[in-house]
Amino acid sequence: MTEATLNAFDLSRQFGSNYAVKDVSFHLNKGEVLGFLGPNGAGKSTTMRMLTGNLAPSQGSVKICGIDIIERPKEAKALIGYLPEIRPLYKEFTVNEFLSIAARFHKVKSSSVHRAVESAKDKCGLAHMSNRLIENLSNGYQQRVGIAQAIIHNPEIVILDEPTVGLDPIQIREIRKLIKDIGKRHSVILSTHILPEVEMVCDRVQIIDKGNLVFHGSIEDLKQHRLGNKLLIGFSKPPTLTKLKAIKGVETVERAEQGMFIIKFKDKYLPAEEIVYLAAKENWGLYHIAPHVTSLEDIFVQLTQVQTLDDQTNKVEKT
């Protein structure tokens, strides 16, 4: 088993009477990028704040490399670099000044502050912005400064809360590349509500919805869920369902909107070739055939439904 750098045990947080996060347990392995996926208001940021000691959990505990963040906050916090959703930048300072302050606050020795600042700037592509006021930097560069302050003390764990929100597509691509690079040296937790982002950057993914962890697994598992062995097919002269079902490897056929069909097939089969061949031969008028990609919302619906079904069966079993 690989070494876990972060462990969260039954983390819960109540605001008044409702739970923002409920019984969330997970771990982060050394050197992996963990994606924290969920819609807005699912409890992502609340969890991140608890992991970094910015918010006290109502129940449960967090251990950073075996150090409890509530009992020994100083030692634990020294191992984390955190970039909150709203980046905490002192805009009256220049990049160099701000990063030196960040380094000193994170207990970098005063003799190596300069080196730490230089290397963080290098990693984040900020070297040519050293003496600019943060206030005058563009959004994307400000985000880089935010990331630079999170990695300046070479922490074990880097926690980034929605690092690509509000950036333009080119900046997003650059930031994602940067996060991938950081993931090679540090363990990273990344929260986002953008599914493709997780697929691009992360090794493992967790989905949180209404404060509950509804899915966790490798990125392959998620893709499986997402692609789910399905084809979306459109015919202008559609055949009968039985004809489609007769094709080898096809499990179920269902009608979708606009006269399209969704065909679910068994593992290790890909009936696309057969369908195209048959369509041409019997003149079904095939105009669309592609893997059916489930959207994030569909996955949420699927996952949450599965859970409620499980709950119901549990209740039945109990009675």
Partner: protein, 248 residues
């Protein structure tokens, strides 16, 4: 760590025009009162013939300058302290401090210390300015030191209270107004009970404790009062920040 926080805070104060403007305006005010004091001294003293009427130049000028300094600090300190925590709340930079390996006490004391260092520039400036009287007369340095100590303790108390009010809100200007009102009330508490000079209510007045310093007396009772006052408000501030973490 406290020093690092103080350094950051000092840098912030000097990075904004606010710090420089307050520094410049106060120095201008102190300078003109000093000048006026020296001028008045010759006018008044040439009129008083009997030795009993005569006052030393240190006390005569010192009283004017330190009197106005303690009054002006009442306005200046809330303006300087208002942003210490509420400004960070407003620009959402508090998580930066909270997620660094620094305790809340270190954050609060560091910020407080940063402001005190800034204010001691002013106190040092006054001391230096009054010392120049020594060029043509023989002045009482003990009197100046006692006044300087009193002024810095008074300003530190203002700052501690200002930080506390700053931690209560996310609007710096609200913090400034609240701390100004509170300080004004605390300064004048003894005035409300003018007829009973020994009433306990008058005893918690800040001004009453500054008065002995301004007479040149360093009384441990007054020093303890100021230290207690400062500690109380710093502890309250730490508790307020801690409740941020607990209540979210």
């Amino acid at each position: 760590m406290i020093i690092n926080v103080a350094r950051k805070e000092l840098k912030s104060l000097f990075a904004s025009p606010m710090g420089w403007i307050i520094l410049a305006l106060l120095m201008l005010a102190f300078g003109s009162f000093y000048l006026q004091g020296v001028n008045n001294y010759f006018e008044v003293m040439s009129g008083s013939i009997r030795p009993a009427e005569r006052v030393g130049v240190t006390i005569f000028v010192g009283q004017t300058v330190y009197g106005i300094a303690s009054f002006l600090m009442l306005f200046a300190v809330p303006l300087l302290s208002m942003g210490l925590i509420s400004g960070e709340r407003k620009s959402q930079t508090l998580p930066f401090l909270f997620s660094a390996p620094i305790s809340l006490t270190e954050i609060v004391v560091g910020k407080f210390l940063g402001l005190i260092i800034f204010l001691s520039i002013l106190v040092g400036y006054i001391l230096l300015m009054l010392s120049t009287l020594n060029i043509w007369s023989d002045i009482d340095f003990g009197y100046l030191l006692s006044n300087s100590l009193g002024l810095i303790l008074l300003a530190a108390s203002f700052a501690a209270l200002g930080i506390y009010f700053s931690s209560l809100t996310s609007q710096p200007i609200v913090a400034a107004i609240l701390s100004f009102i509170a300080l004004f009330a605390l300064m004048g508490l003894d005035k409300f009970f003018g007829s009973q000079p020994n009433h306990w209510f008058g005893y918690i007045s800040l001004m009453k404790h500054f008065q002995s310093f301004s007479r040149g007396i360093i009384d441990s009772k007054d020093i303890i009062y100021f230290i207690l006052f400062i500690t109380t408000f710093l502890v309250l501030t730490v508790r307020r920040l801690d409740s941020d973490r607990l209540r979210g």
